[in-house]
Structures are given as C-alpha cells and as structure tokens.
C-alpha cells in the first residue's frame, strides 16, 4: 500500500469560487493522497460543503484546476434514499441489476449491519439505519474518493459515535481517499490522518494526526490536538473541563 500511498487522489490548484460578492474559496490548493483520510473543519458557511460539491462536479469553480478520480461517491447529511426503492435497490442505485451487483449490494448492507433490512422501505428505517444504507451505497462502488458531507450531524450522540467507528473501520478496509466535512472537532481528531481548517476562503491549518487507532478521546495526545483545533476555530477550551475529562 505504501507505494500507491504517495499517489494523489485529489489535486486542486488555485481554485476560486464565489457566490455573489462573497468569496468562499480564495485560490485554494489541496492535495489528498490515495487512502488518506482528510477532515475538513471550519465554522458554518465557510465553504466546506462548496469544496466538496466542487469535487463532485455539482458546482463549477470560477477559476483554478480540479482533478479527481473517476470513481467517487458521497454520503450527505441526510440519507437521500429514493423513497420508492427498497434498501438493497437504493444501495445498488444506478448499476445494472446483475447477480454480481446484487451480491455486492448485499455484502455492503451486511458490512453496515443491515443484512436483514435489504427489503425494507427507506421510510421504515431509523435515521441511523437510513444513513448506514447511504454509506453502503457509497462504498459498494469501491470509490477511490469517498466524500462525506457531515454524515453524522443529524444523528443522535450515541448513534453518531457508532457510525464514526463504523466509517473508520470500513475506510480502513476499503482504503478510499476520504474527505469528511464536519464542524465537530472530536470527530475530526477521532478519524483523520490530516485535519484542514478552512476559514475566510483559505486553509488556515493543515494538521497531521499520527496517532494509533482506534483512538482514545481521553488520551493526552488526542486532547492536545483537540485543543489546538478548537483554538484555531476561535473556541477557548475550558481548563476545568479538560482536567475533568483527564481524570475521568
């Protein structure tokens, strides 16, 4: 894997995008290596999602060059499942319905622990289940680039933690390059190889996180990264809270 790791999955140079007179991306450069898990962090409305949409080709840059792999998939904040298709059909959406594809779809559902729900209608699934179907749909195509647009934001706290672990596991197994957009610092520190902070149209921080997985959120190294990132986002962490967590 190390040989291919050095190869790029995403390359952006001088990308600019503005809406009206608001410049959300101001000549941004970015390279993501194959298999690298990059988390894009930033306050709301800073253009995180715009960057992701640019990579998907759902938005057109005003200027600059964008290079992405052919095979890229996405999980949005909402599941965005087709209500008239059952879970399995949603997973293999847009693919010819061959035996092989069906088999792959079932395996993907199995991977997200929904093997028994393959005939369920999306409306009957819980929020976490629906989001897992969306994740299976994104993974079944074996993407070279997996784009995650705040996929855990609408989930309850416990489901979110479980989903984060699941994504971490599945990404470790399938090794796509990942760009995860979030504003949750803990999520970033838990999952990322590298955290980028986007503010005022530019990356103000590019922080490599070289910690073993699964990561312990009470580990001092993890906490240090957390404090750094919070400071970068303009949030002063509360020392008493920190010490409380440390002694927990």
């Amino acid at each position: 894997m190390t040989a291919t790791d050095s190869l790029l999955a995403v390359s952006l140079s001088g990308v600019r995008k503005s809406f009206g007179d608001k410049t959300v991306l101001d000549r941004v450069d970015l390279e993501i290596r194959r298999g690298e898990f990059v988390v894009l962090l930033g306050p709301s409305g800073t253009g995180k999602t715009t960057l992701l949409r640019l990579l998907l080709g759902q938005e057109r840059p005003d200027d600059g060059e964008i290079l992405v792999p052919r095979q890229r998939t996405v999980v949005y904040q909402e599941p965005r499942l087709v209500p008239s298709k059952r879970a399995l059909s949603n997973v293999v959406l847009g693919q010819p319905r061959t035996r092989q594809v069906t088999e792959d779809g079932r395996r993907a559902l199995d991977e997200v622990d929904l093997a028994d729900k393959h005939r369920a209608w999306p409306a009957t699934l819980s929020g976490g289940e629906a989001q897992r179907v969306a994740l299976a749909r994104a993974l079944v195509r074996e993407p070279e680039l997996l784009l995650l647009d705040e996929p855990f934001a609408a989930l309850d706290a416990l489901t979110r933690l479980r989903m984060q672990d699941l994504v971490g596991e599945l990404v470790a197994r399938h090794r796509p390059a990942v760009l995860l957009v979030t504003h949750d610092v803990d999520e970033a520190v838990r999952l990322a190889d590298r955290v980028l902070v986007l503010r005022d149209g530019r990356f103000t921080r590019d922080l490599g996180i070289d910690l073993p997985r699964p990561r312990d959120r009470t580990d001092p190294a993890t906490l240090r990264h957390r404090t750094t990132l919070l400071a970068e986002l303009g949030v002063r962490s509360n020392p008493s809270e920190e010490s409380h967590v440390r002694h927990d």
Binding site: T4, L8, A9, S11, L67, V68, P96, T98, Q100, V101
Partner: protein
C-alpha cells in the same frame, strides 16, 4: 451477457494495480451548461411558435392551403382590425372577461374552501371528497341543457356553468396542496397554539400556494372553454358568441381569429398568474440544491 456487463463495471470500479501514476485523475464533469443566458433562452422559447406562424403564412401565400380552408395571417389580421374598429372586439372581450371572472371567482372560492376542509380534517374529507369526485367525473358540457332549463339563458347560467367547470380542478389541487404541507410543520404550528383560520391563512395556504396558483392557471384556461359553451346561446356579445357567428356565416377568417384570440387570452391569463407567482412567494427566491 449480463454477467459480462457486470465484470466490466467492476473492472472500472476497483482500483487495480495497473494504475501507476496520478495521471488517471480527471476533471469533474459538470451537469448542464451552468447558467443559461437570457439572450439565448428567450429567442429559443419563441422560435417554435414563430416557425409555425411562418409556415402558416408561407403556406397560404403560395396557395398551398386553400383560402377557404385556412385563410392566411393577412386576412385574419384584417378581420381583427375590422372588429377592432367597430369596437365589437373590445366590447366582446370585456363582457366575456366579466363572465369568466365572476364564474372563476365563484368556482375558485368554493373549491378552495372545500379543498382546505377536506385536506385538513378527516371529517371534511369524508363529507366532501366523494361528492367532489362525482362532480369531477361529470363533463361540465353535459350540464349545459340542464342549466339552461334551471337558470334560463342569461347571465346566471353562464356564470354558474363556468363556476361548476372550475370548482373541481380548484378543489383537487387545493386538496393535494394542503395534503402535501409537511405534517411536521402542521404539528409544530398546532403545538404553538395555531388553530382554525390562523392556522389556515398563516401556515397552510402559504405553504400550499404553488399548488393553488397552478390550480388558478388551470381554472382560467377552463373558463375559456366554459365561455365558448355558455356564449353559444342567449347572448349577442362575447368571444364565444363570435365563434358561433363565424360558424353561422361560414367565415373561416373569423374562426381562425377566434382561435388566435383564445390562445392569446390563455397566454395572458398564464402570464398574469406567473407574475403573481413571482411576487406572492418571496420566500421561494433563490432556492438551490444544497
């Protein structure tokens, strides 16, 4: 056959060892051409109707269409200016518009009230819906002789016929619009104490407005059909009367003029509602897929 396709798809999907460089990265393909310029959109929109008129003109000028079957645009235009000069056209249009307005107002009001009641409450749906479906199933043209027998041949019959013709589509679209209002939104509004008229006017109707305006457009075009049927009898004025007049004297130029007039009238109604749509829903401005 099908398994072959599948292996091919998979070969593309799975990153293989054959990839040696980052050169297989691609630029994203953008859907559509981005912003469409108005300079191209407007001429395109008018091109097909203009083409049809050109064919019509050319066909009649070269004698391709006999003048008895389809008079050319110049003849229709002169029929138009003739009616305009005598003042008949303005009078007829005004009278017809008044009838249509009264009929549509009545039909839309009844359809709106029934649609809201039926869409919002189970009791309303049980009481109203079946009857409205029956009404919808009856072609309103079948009611013409009966309505003449009941209401005579003067204004009352004409207005009521248009009202009956428009009540069914207004009801159906209102019902649909109200049913499609997000249940969760209604739940929230109710939990904050909104009831009755305040709930309907403050939350339900604004949310259902796109459907209601669509219904209005359909009602207005149906009203023209109603006019033609209603103005065949008991009147010496109106654009429906004009078409029966043309038939009586076998004046094809007047017949074609009537067709053109209905088309123009329909387009004007539509444009009016579109303008209304634009200004009545400021909250819909700049909606984008996010």
């Amino acid at each position: 056959m099908s398994t072959e396709t599948s292996t091919e798809v998979r070969r593309v999907a799975v990153p293989g060892p054959a990839r040696t460089a980052g050169s297989d990265l691609v630029r994203p393909v953008y859907r559509g051409t981005g912003r469409r310029s108005r300079r191209r959109s407007v001429p395109l929109r008018f091109s097909v109707p203009l083409l049809l008129i050109a064919v019509w003109w050319l066909g009649s000028a070269t004698g391709w269409f006999s003048a008895q079957v389809l008079p050319g645009p110049p003849k229709v235009w002169s029929a138009f200016t003739e009616l305009l000069q005598t003042g008949q056209l303005a009078d007829y249009t005004l009278v017809s518009l008044q009838r249509a307005a009264a009929g549509v107002a009545l039909g839309v009001a009844v359809g709106l009230v029934f649609g809201v009641l039926s869409g919002l409450t189970a009791l309303g749906e049980e009481l109203i819906d079946a009857t409205m479906q029956i009404n919808r199933a009856i072609p309103f043209l079948a009611l013409v002789p009966l309505f003449i027998a009941w209401f005579g041949i003067d204004e009352k019959f004409k207005v009521l016929l248009i009202a009956v013709a428009t009540v069914a589509p207004m009801y159906a679209y209102t019902y649909l619009g109200v049913r499609n209002v997000d249940r969760k939104l209604l739940e929230a509004a109710r939990s904050f104490g909104l009831r009755g008229a305040r709930l309907v006017f403050g939350t339900v109707l604004p949310t259902a407005l796109p459907s209601l305006l669509m219904a209005l457009r359909i009602c207005l075009s149906i009203s023209i059909t109603g006019l033609i049927a209603a103005e065949q009898v008991g009147t010496r004025e109106g654009i429906g009367y004009l078409v029966s007049l043309a038939q009586e004297y076998n004046r094809t130029d007047y017949m074609v003029l009537c067709v053109v007039l209905y088309a123009v009238l329909g387009l004007l109604f539509d444009a009016a509602v579109r303008v209304l749509e634009r200004f009545a829903m400021p909250w819909r401005a700049g909606v984008a897929a996010r």
